[in-house]
Symmetry: C3
Amino acid sequence: MTDALVLSQADGAIGRLTLNDPGRANALSSAMMAALSDALADFAADPAIRVIVLGAAGRIFCAGHDLAELRSTDDLAAHEALFAQCSALMLAIGACPKPVIAHVRGAAVAAGCQLVASCDLAYAVDTARFAVSGVNLGLFCSTPGVALSRAVGRKDALEMLLTGRFVGAAEAAAMGLINRAVPAADPDAAVEEAARAIASKPPEAIALGKRVFGRQIVLAPEDAYAVASRAMAENLGFQSAKQGIDGFLKR
Amino acid sequence: MTDALVLSQADGAIGRLTLNDPGRANALSSAMMAALSDALADFAADPAIRVIVLGAAGRIFCAGHDLAELRSTDDLAAHEALFAQCSALMLAIGACPKPVIAHVRGAAVAAGCQLVASCDLAYAVDTARFAVSGVNLGLFCSTPGVALSRAVGRKDALEMLLTGRFVGAAEAAAMGLINRAVPAADPDAAVEEAARAIASKPPEAIALGKRVFGRQIVLAPEDAYAVASRAMAENLGFQSAKQGIDGFLKR
Amino acid sequence: MTDALVLSQADGAIGRLTLNDPGRANALSSAMMAALSDALADFAADPAIRVIVLGAAGRIFCAGHDLAELRSTDDLAAHEALFAQCSALMLAIGACPKPVIAHVRGAAVAAGCQLVASCDLAYAVDTARFAVSGVNLGLFCSTPGVALSRAVGRKDALEMLLTGRFVGAAEAAAMGLINRAVPAADPDAAVEEAARAIASKPPEAIALGKRVFGRQIVLAPEDAYAVASRAMAENLGFQSAKQGIDGFLKR
């Protein structure tokens, strides 16, 4: 699929996805969102894949929605469908049983920044930049704000959303939008380390853990513990957990 | 209104409010809260104003509630009314369609710190200090804790609330209570930059975006996206958004 | 009780608890959890105690669950009971009317890290390390994730949970898992300062404040303010608050 909007490559247990429309700044057109959604679903269903790394071809990670497409119609229902498609894509990343890691080597803007915020983990070269700058054009980044405000503090999120300013990778890491800014001289090390670490764990524990994390985080503590306690007991019944613990106890 | 408790000054599209009771450390007496609430409402209703900067006269930004007023009665209902008035003021900052930026040049204590936490953005000179130190007098800062715990992490909030300790501006910025600590030599630059940036955006996008941000942040992700997706489609119907995007596409 | 699993010592108004099973890395066996729960309840009920400091004997703060005990049965109900006991212990720390401060001088792993995250405050020597590394054995730290994700940002929590990696004390402080990393040369200063500060406040204000903080933080802002406003008025009726404020006003 080398001519596709999203390149898919299985690299051992690591599924590599590459946004591949650099001539249009990897904009999240309806076609691009569909391609990314399909590629995610394929890796989600592939038992050989344990972790997904999402990168991008070209100088820009992702510039956000395809503005020409947004302006190709004035139909409210068509616009609602587009944003609903985008929201469903972001939620699908969270619902994917395999961790998704953003590998950012350029600017991530508006829905592109939302994509980074929506990934489970994110690493960026220290020259990468991030903005939710739709407000500059009069289109406030309300949906990117959903993901952003669940990753960073309130005042950081509001400053980015209200002023449209760009933040560098180091600042993005300090606020929690990404896990770490990495030297441009060695842009892959942190991503590869995280991906290989995750790929080495029992995938059923990862899947259960990621699912339970997403469920418990929106609950009150008592309810969160009820959900998570039952999940721990269930997890302890997995053959891989029994073997893992028994191996540890024999050390 | 130069003798008022809160000075109001329209400076182009920037509405400047100044707490103006320095002799009483700009305490949030019932009269001060009413004056601030009225001044906010006036700017909220003034179509020429696009952003509000809240500063203070004198060495102290705001020392919190007027303790003498609190002790002027033992009537529980009167006390409940005072704290309800204060809570309504803080919620009004969030509900204001125009972003409110705190400009802190001195100590912000108890409900004064709550005021800073409640503003959308906040910048402070690096000599400013922050505390929620009511516990020192036996009056735990429970209402300031509402705003504080929505701006900073749990352990930072609890340390400030339980020990009453003061934190400097740099530490306040690191925890997320303010956006940035700025050199005392140039205390206005960051505030003015943010205010001018916001004033340059289409106000209807800012108003919609701020309202949706406040709504979505308390919802589960699925519900947050439903609200925000519809808002994006609505926003795209604004004339200013169409013009902004069309202008961008023609570049 | 020098031979107990948890040592209890009243030191003036400070209640000191020490996990005391260093030969088993202070693992949270059912017996250890019961002992800690009892010791907490005793200090909670003791009017002479105003703050609790939780430390540990030996090189490791706490290694998490007792894995041999977990593997001593395959009974799902028995496992559910164990995790429910652990969750109840963590919630009891939050429900304790006296602040609980973790004093970490070694590794805090899995449910041991959860214990640190669950304490109101935490200070660690700069050589301490933290992990929620159950995933390494195939047992995802779902219950530790409940406490962790309420203390630190989403991406920090997920990285620790998914990769199992250890973070040092400085990084743990930067993410909000602990309040501060302290030099190993003077490991007690920060803990003692916080404990003495809290012990010097009116305990009824601390108890009310801690209870209200826990209640309000899970509510929408309007509801949080309703709860906290009423609590402020109630607090103002305390004799200690009246005296504290009156003393301040006479200065």
